[in-house]
């Protein structure tokens, strides 16, 4: 067993941080996300008062010193709205991303460990989700199950797991051929022991990388749903873009530019973080910049 005294943990953490921060994009993304999370947590203190209240007379003002990012169609400060909107995006990103990772990991582990019919069944279900168009499916589910944040998170989490399942399954299959698993089996270890003491811990790193890699897609999906007007949340980046659709023709570029930029920066940051994690957790890996689709294809 690896000793986990506080000192070795600290040493591990510092060596991890050293290799992680070697990737400057990942470093910058990390600080951006930390700042965003802090701002979202402290939003009430940064912008006291009701930021959602209409401010008559100040509608659609371009960026200025009093409102750095301009005001929206109700005269509200866009910077304040963006900071409050970060809550929605981050909550969905972590909750739906987490759900996706848990379901995908479980499905992949079971498919890889039991093989045979179980494997066939799980992977066929995964294939169905990979074949039918996901955004329309989520649209239908959310529209019918009444649009709210919880349903959005469930819909995204429960439709996005197949990629994760594929990754975990193929890693599990590779692990199952290793000697130490063979020995455990011969010694009569239970399925639960092999699954959770060996298969899972041995892939935690790659699970973490793929979970963070799937978050940009989660953020974009959630933003798309709001943009299409499905989740009538007063403050969210996607819905700000939805509103701006009625106004951009008058030249109110700041009403669409800044919310979209926030979505873009957040998604990109998670991407860079996953890249940094990949390099720091798996030093043998070459620096390869592959998209999610490519990785799915490779694991097919």
């Amino acid at each position: 067993m690896i000793s986990t005294t506080p000192k070795s943990l600290l040493a591990k953490a510092s060596s991890f941080w050293r290799s992680y921060s070697r990737n400057r994009g990942a470093l910058f993304a990390f600080f951006f996300l930390v700042a965003l999370i802090l701002a979202a947590l402290l939003a009430n203190y940064i912008f006291p008062g009701d930021v959602e209240a209409p401010n008559i007379g100040n509608e659609m003002l371009p960026p200025s010193f009093s409102a750095i990012l301009g005001t929206d169609y109700l005269g509200r400060d866009q910077l304040a709205l963006l900071v409050f909107g970060a809550r929605t995006s981050l909550i969905v990103a972590f909750a739906a991303g987490g759900l996706l990772a848990v379901v995908g990991t479980m499905a992949g582990l079971l498919a890889g460990y039991f093989g045979g019919r179980t494997d066939g069944l799980i992977m066929r279900i995964a294939d169905v989700f990979l074949t039918i168009p996901i955004l329309p499916l989520i649209l239908v589910i959310v529209a019918f199950a009444s649009p709210n944040l919880l349903n959005v998170m469930f819909a995204i989490g429960l439709t996005g797991w197949p990629v994760m399942a594929r990754v975990v399954r193929s890693d599990s299959l590779a692990l199952m051929k290793r000697e130490f698993i063979e020995i455990e089996r011969v010694m009569g270890a239970s399925s639960a022991r092999i699954l959770f003491k060996h298969l899972l811990p041995n892939q935690l790193n790659s699970i973490l990388v793929y979970a963070s890699l799937s978050i940009p897609a989660v953020i974009l999906t959630e933003a798309s749903l709001e943009f299409l007007g499905l989740t009538p949340l007063s403050v969210s980046w996607g819905f700000m873009l939805n509103v701006s659709m009625s106004y951009w023709i008058r030249g109110t570029w700041w009403m669409s530019f800044f919310p979209g930029f926030a979505i873009f920066m957040t998604a990109l940051s998670f991407y860079f973080v996953s890249e940094g994690l990949k390099e720091a957790l798996n030093p043998k890996l070459k620096r390869r910049r592959e998209s999610l689709a490519v990785q799915v294809a490779e694991r097919k």
């Binding site: 074949t131 039918i132 873009l241 951009w248 570029w253 689709a293 490519v294």
Partner: protein, 319 residues
């Protein structure tokens, strides 16, 4: 086993998938708060009309019969009634298909051809400046919401510079279908849609080519003194592009999703803006029918890619 039985098997899978989607639709419909009655019926109708419609749609029958009737309706084009347009959902949707294809197909062609070129360019000198530039480009656009890119393009080229139309597929003044007017309107939405999908596709070509260039037969070809150009274009390229064919089916799904969002921004009169409109007006029969239509489109294109792949790859065994 012959090629025909391979095709037969793929067709069976496609049919099974369509049944799965139909079942999914049926389940969602019945699990929805209020069930199909509440979802499909206009709340303002009279009780007698309600009873009549319930009988017409078979909603007074037991659930398993309803399910079979539903699947039969899906096959025969009886996809429910749009209560916004007050005509069959199937008709509402079919009238929008051409516009979506007029956006998707040019974008798909452009994505594939540019993606292959970019993938080749970056793989000719791996980890060179060009390669890294193209990879960052892909990274960048992968994280970008396509509707945001659409807004930027519109703000720049339709509002500030005022050189391109601000949306739609044809000018209001145009009578009939004018190809030049259509192309004029196509530029911006096609650019947005293509840039987003190109990112992924070029990376796919790149990684597939890198894998092929690692193979033994490439080393052999080089070892026997073939010129590099010949090795690359004759031996590597052909095999490297094969896996990308299988990915095309998956890409149609992505492009379709992109098209829904792109059409909404550019008020392109296809399935995408219909999706937006029917969500906004709570036209549930059309929302369900749209999902079915999108699924059929992706399942069908997956089927075609499978068949094309079978034709292209001599190694494939048909079983």
């Amino acid at each position: 086993m012959g090629f025909l039985s391979y095709i037969g098997k793929r067709v069976l899978v496609a049919v099974a998938l369509i049944v799965v989607v139909g079942t999914l639709n049926f389940t969602i419909l019945h699990l929805a708060p209020g069930g199909p009655e509440l979802v499909f019926l206009n709340p303002r109708i009279t009780p007698s009309a309600r009873a009549l419609i319930l009988r017409q749609f078979g909603l007074d029958k037991p659930i398993q019969i309803q399910y079979l009737l539903y699947l039969e309706g899906m096959v025969t084009g009886n996809w429910g009634l749009s209560y916004f347009y007050t005509e069959p959902a199937f008709d509402v949707i079919s009238s929008r298909i051409p516009a979506t294809l007029l956006l998707m197909v040019p974008s798909l062609i452009l994505t594939v051809s540019l993606g292959i070129l970019m993938g080749i360019a970056s793989v000719r000198k791996p980890y060179s400046f060009l390669d890294r530039f193209l990879s960052s480009f892909a990274f960048f656009f992968y994280s970008m919401p396509v509707f945001w890119l659409g807004f930027i393009l519109l703000s720049v080229f339709a509002v500030y510079v005022h050189v391109l139309p601000a949306g739609g597929m044809l000018s209001i003044t145009t009578v009939g279908f004018d190809v030049r007017d259509y192309l004029w309107h196509l530029i911006l939405p096609m650019t947005a849609l293509t840039l987003i999908n190109l990112a992924n596709f070029s990376l796919l070509v790149r990684s597939s080519m890198i894998e092929v260039l690692d193979q033994n037969y490439i080393t052999t070809a080089r070892g026997k003194g073939l010129p590099e150009r010949l090795v690359f274009y004759r031996h590597a390229l052909r095999n490297g592009l094969l896996p990308t064919v299988t990915m095309l089916g998956l890409f149609v799904g992505a492009i379709l999703t992109g098209a829904i969002l792109t059409e909404t921004v550019f008020s392109w009169p296809g399935l995408g803006s219909l999706t937006y409109a029917s969500i906004t007006s709570r036209d549930y029969p059309v929302v369900l029918a749209l999902f079915f239509m999108f699924s059929i489109l992706t399942i069908f294109s997956n089927l075609i890619t499978d068949i094309v792949y079978g034709l292209l790859d001599p190694r494939i065994t048909y079983d």
